[in-house]
Symmetry: C2
Subunit: 291 residues, 2 copies
């Protein structure tokens, strides 16, 4: 059994990007610049955004954090987005989600210039992804493709079962892995809350992407020997034995499933750390494209 | 066994649209207007476009046919598209495919204003479809959803197997049928040329969408009893016994598969006739949206 080590892989990717940025600077080209907009004081969101800014510093990108108060109006946010769209210094930017309830999230995502949409959430970029055209693939699916690639997990002709149909993970994963691409050419089954006989389906899977958000949902009896497991779930569960009072669980019962698996991502330290690395990769791409 | 009669259903839809157009006129609202651009003299393309214009006449739409010679440059075509984008009289328009080889098809499709893209081929509309947002769903997938709906074929919780991963049919069908929508909520497996053990997979299917373009590929031994079959294939095969020298075959061996099926589309007269009806529905939607 081989652990798909997202922490190490993510660190490798950041090192590669650091080298590329040094080269860009040496060549007198523009230093990539990522901006992030955060609205309000949600603790988890601030932590995520903070980690993104820190990652920019590590690889030598410029970064800008735009902090707006929780009572910012939709109109004000749209005007800030327009400002970033028109600012040639900024290569790419993200709007940290979730947004306060009085703001229409979809409207905001649609306002981001697709050429600066390094989160890959704009419909135009989702459409390009679905059409297998060059674009920004959103961080979680992109990170999964990259992990499978770097560990040489064969996907061509394999049967992938995706559990969960979210727009962020399940749906794009099912689209990407079925396409003609390096990590792709798989037979893909997408399953969700309405699926009947799920176990019958997962038992056939060569690769399982678990992205439903129910801790330890996937158990050993649901998988065959030598399966590859990508665990996208991450749920805080109370645990009084831990100093901080909780532990993090994935959608997979790791201890038992890992005994049958060929490859498996841990939680934490699997898919999670990959996302920021892929955001940086998209920003680097945006910078090269636009300059 | 029930035949999913696309000819009749398409005719019903056209009657419904005719009624809506009469009502729009009565209300003093704008008459929907579809334009079609055709480049060159391909016989099949001219037949298709001709059928679309005829269908517009039948339901009371205005129509405009823009005929360009086969040596039209990409730039000239782009400028014609720009003209239609800016013409408020035109509610929606299509560019008949395929285009001559010196023209970049993707570039052309990207130039169409997404709000007038009644073919649903622009990445923005493909992305909206993938995100389950309101948009123009392209005619073939939309027609299949409509057929399943009007014949009350249950899809929720059913296992759909899609054969073929084209951007026009296989890929969007697999996305749409897995979504939370009236005709949707299915467990969907997308298969293609790289799929191994296809028969093992199709034997589990409650619904099969065959869209690979190989005549009579799907045989009775590949399906279970009471399956629903949607046959998207249409291939001309030489047949000297026919007056015109050929007959049309689908991707399904109709005679033998129909004996096991609950529902099945014939070829011709199944999915094919639905596409023009759905193009008209999209044009009606565009006209209501933009006026």
């Amino acid at each position: 059994m081989i652990i798909l080590d997202g922490k190490k892989t993510s660190s490798d990717i950041k090192d590669e990007i650091t080298q590329e940025v040094l080269q860009l600077k040496k060549d007198g080209r523009k230093t990539p610049h990522l901006a992030a907009i955060i609205v309000g004081n949600d603790g988890a969101s601030r932590t995520y955004v903070g980690a993104k800014v820190k990652a920019c510093n590590r690889v030598g990108f410029h970064s800008t954090l735009v902090e707006l108060s929780s009572d910012t109006s939709e109109k004000e946010l749209l005007s800030k987005i327009e400002e970033l769209n028109n600012n040639n210094e900024i290569d790419g930017f993200i709007v940290q989600l979730p947004l306060p309830k009085h703001i229409d999230e979809q409207k905001i995502l649609m306002a981001v210039d697709p050429n600066k949409d390094v989160d890959g959430f704009h419909p135009t970029n989702v459409g390009k992804m679905a059409l297998n055209l060059p674009t920004f693939i959103s961080a979680t699916p992109y990170g999964i493709l990259e992990l499978l690639d770097r560990y040489h997990v064969e996907t061509s002709g394999k049967h992938v079962v995706v559990i969960g149909r979210s727009h962020i993970v399940g749906s794009p994963m099912s689209i990407l892995l079925s396409q003609k691409r390096k990590v792709g050419n798989a037979t893909v089954t997408i399953t969700h809350s309405r699926t009947q006989n799920l176990t019958e389906i997962t038992l056939k899977a060569d690769i399982i992407i678990a992205a439903l958000g129910i801790p330890e949902f996937l158990t050993a009896s649901m998988v065959k020997d030598n399966v590859t497991i990508i665990d996208v779930g991450i749920t805080r569960v109370e645990d009084s034995s831990k100093k901080n009072g909780y532990r993090l669980l994935g959608d997979v019962a790791f201890d038992e499933v890992s005994k049958k698996a060929s490859f498996i991502t841990p939680v934490p330290g699997g898919v999670g750390p990959m996302t920021i690395a892929m955001l940086l990769k998209n920003t680097l791409l945006a910078s090269k494209m636009n300059n």
